[in-house]
């Protein structure tokens, strides 16, 4: 019920009761309410003729970097007694200085300007409008309007640098890079031997092996290093990312995605990103700094969603042919093994970077014996899950998010894993 309607109803009631009982004192009780109603009519807002302008000190910032927003609202019409000017902000932005909402008087044909400073976590926001609520002093007559403004603020995710991520896709592209291509040619790592051919550098002749043969001279062959297609899949399922007390491990997953994408792009690879969360979104594969910017923008908008499992995860073959490298960044859940195994069967080389949800959640639950026991059981279950993945030939990086990401990746990926060593040894023996 609106305030005016309530006042009117009470005035009617008082008057009718006063007339019904022929009691003048009772009718007199309506006087304050009638005067209150008349005061609302006096100098209430008429038509709103307002416009707004906005300037923002920066459009792309890192988390925690201050941004100054300057606003000017101009009243082209009659005087307004009490106007609430509210600049709506999303949850990831917080005002640290000044005010995003003002309650002011706006005289006729006048302007008001003010600034406020924002700090933001990761995210993107379009400043599309300023909400206006004009009313009389007593709040009886209310007029609302939205003033359109322009402006965008992109708070990019934090950057964590990783020097090198040792991936081993089965198939590489033709351009030279740093990923072993399992083919002999020019490179650094010894790959095998072949008969000397005219034009080979004398430095490449393997004199020790050639000395054992009568008429044949052998040259060393090195493993070619090329760039590869890499698809990064960021798991944004709320079920696996968010825990009690509104704590989320998703920010760590985003940080890992930034680090992995930056490292792989810096090495010349063709990298694409799929965010499997609130909005399933592919950033098509590409090279270089432009692609890095696209990926950063996509990650700035990444949010967790209600999707329960990976059933709708489809890797488009057009973008990522079989044998290319897929990097899944996910805390993982028990039901994910089958899908990841299917991807392996389809020929993708899989690397799973898994922020450890067990240690993350147990840290926030205290140190009681029951928590310790529960954490131990959950850790065992997770260990079984990771072992199962490793048995299907998937590289797994189990990342305790209390440690720096680079440290976790360096210890797990800076050298090829044991089974990849074995594959390489197998290739080498075959050549010989």
């Amino acid at each position: 019920m609106s305030r005016i309607a309530l006042l009117a109803a009470l005035i009617y009631l008082i008057i009718l009761a006063g007339v019904g009982t022929l009691n003048g004192a009772m009718v007199a009780l309506a006087l304050p309410l009638v005067l209150y109603l008349l005061a609302g009519l006096w100098r209430g807002p008429e038509e709103l003729h307002l416009s707004a302008e906005r300037t923002i000190s920066a459009e792309r910032v890192a988390p925690g970097e201050p941004v100054v927003v300057h606003l000017t609202v101009t009243n082209h019409g009659e005087a307004l007694e009490q106007v609430l000017l509210h600049d709506p902000l999303p949850a990831f932005l917080s005002v640290v200085e000044g005010a995003s909402s003002r309650l002011v008087d706006l005289p006729a044909r006048s302007s008001i300007s003010w600034s406020y400073t924002l700090l933001g976590k990761r995210g993107s926001h379009y400043f599309e409008q300023i909400q206006v609520l004009a009313e009389d002093r007593l709040g009886l007559m209310v007029k609302r309007a939205d003033l359109p403004t322009r402006g965008q603020l992109l708070v990019l995710p934090s950057i964590s640098r990783v020097r090198h991520i040792a991936i081993q896709p089965r198939q590489t592209r033709v351009y030279s890079g740093v990923i072993p291509a399992h083919q002999g040619g020019t490179g650094i790592e010894f790959f095998g031997l072949r008969e000397y051919q005219a034009g080979d550098s004398p430095h490449h002749i393997n004199w020790r092996v050639s000395a054992r043969q009568d008429d044949i001279i052998y040259s060393n062959e090195y493993e070619q290093e090329r760039v590869a297609d890499v698809g990064i899949v960021l798991d944004g399922r709320r079920r696996v990312n968010e825990f009690s007390g509104r704590r989320s491990i998703f920010e760590d997953s985003v940080l890992a995605s930034v680090a992995v994408a930056s490292s792989l792009l810096a090495e010349g690879n063709r990298v694409g990103l799929f965010i499997y969360g609130k909005r399933n979104k592919w950033t098509s594969p590409g090279y270089g700094k432009y692609q890095r910017e696209r990926i950063m923008q996509a990650l700035a908008l990444a949010e967790t969603g209600e999707i329960q499992n990976f059933s709708s995860l489809i890797i488009p073959r057009r973008l990522f042919p079989p044998n290319s490298q897929i990097i899944l960044i996910s805390p993982l859940s028990g039901g994910d093994v089958s899908l990841l195994s299917q991807l392996r069967v389809r020929g993708y080389q899989l690397l799973v970077i898994s922020p450890d949800p067990v240690s993350f959640e147990s840290r926030g639950l205290g140190d009681s014996p029951s928590v310790k026991l529960a954490a131990r059981i959950a850790r065992l279950q997770r260990e079984v899950l990771l072992r199962e993945l490793r048995h299907t030939g998937i590289q797994v990086v189990n990342w305790d998010v209390s440690r720096p990401f680079e440290q976790a990746v360096r210890s797990a990926l800076s050298r090829p894993t044991a089974f990849l060593h074995a594959i390489q040894r197998g290739h080498g023996a075959g050549k010989r």
């Binding site: 009617y12 008082i14 007199a28 005010a99």
Partner: protein, 164 residues
């Protein structure tokens, strides 16, 4: 300041009506009114401001009933004035919380108090002038006047609502 004035208004409203009923030996009614006052304060403390309209309506009806029960009109009028103040200030308190500029809030608060003081002052003047006017009306004339008053109020409300 607005918050404290809301408490003071509710207490003053409930206390005046309580005293009025108690003076007429209607102690159970007086206790009930006090309970309503406490409930209103509790709802305000719990930030359940949407109930302030209900509480305002209840206290206006109690004020009317007090006249019917022969309580002094001064207590009934005080009840109406302070319940109106409590209801209005609850809304002002909500409005001031929507801005994060303390200077703006102080300025708006001052301007609001001035307007409110004007309304209350005129009401008091009107209330003390009315008993001095003695007009003898038949029931028909009184009913006609009441209808006229209702029509006037309706026109005013229509005008106010058409601006929303």
């Amino acid at each position: 300041m607005t918050r404290n004035l809301v408490y003071v208004s509710i207490i003053a409203c409930a206390a005046s009506l309580c005293y009025g009923f108690a003076a007429k030996d209607l102690v159970p009614v007086s206790v009930t009114v006090a309970m309503f006052g406490i409930a209103w304060i509790f709802l305000f403390m719990r930030s359940l401001h949407r109930f302030s309209s209900l509480a305002f309506g209840i206290f206006i009806i109690i004020s009317l009933a007090s006249l019917w029960a022969d309580v002094s009109p001064v207590f009934a009028f005080t009840g109406v004035i302070f319940s109106l103040l409590a209801w209005d200030l609850t809304r002002l308190f909500q409005r001031l919380r929507t801005t994060n500029s303390p200077q703006d809030a102080r300025k708006a608060e001052r301007a609001h108090f001035v307007r409110l003081a004007l309304v209350i002052g005129l009401s008091l003047v009107g209330y003390f002038v009315v008993p001095r006017i003695h007009v003898t009306l038949t029931f028909g004339a009184a009913a006609l006047l009441a209808l006229l008053g209702i029509w006037g109020i309706s026109a005013l409300v229509y005008r106010l609502r058409s601006h929303e």
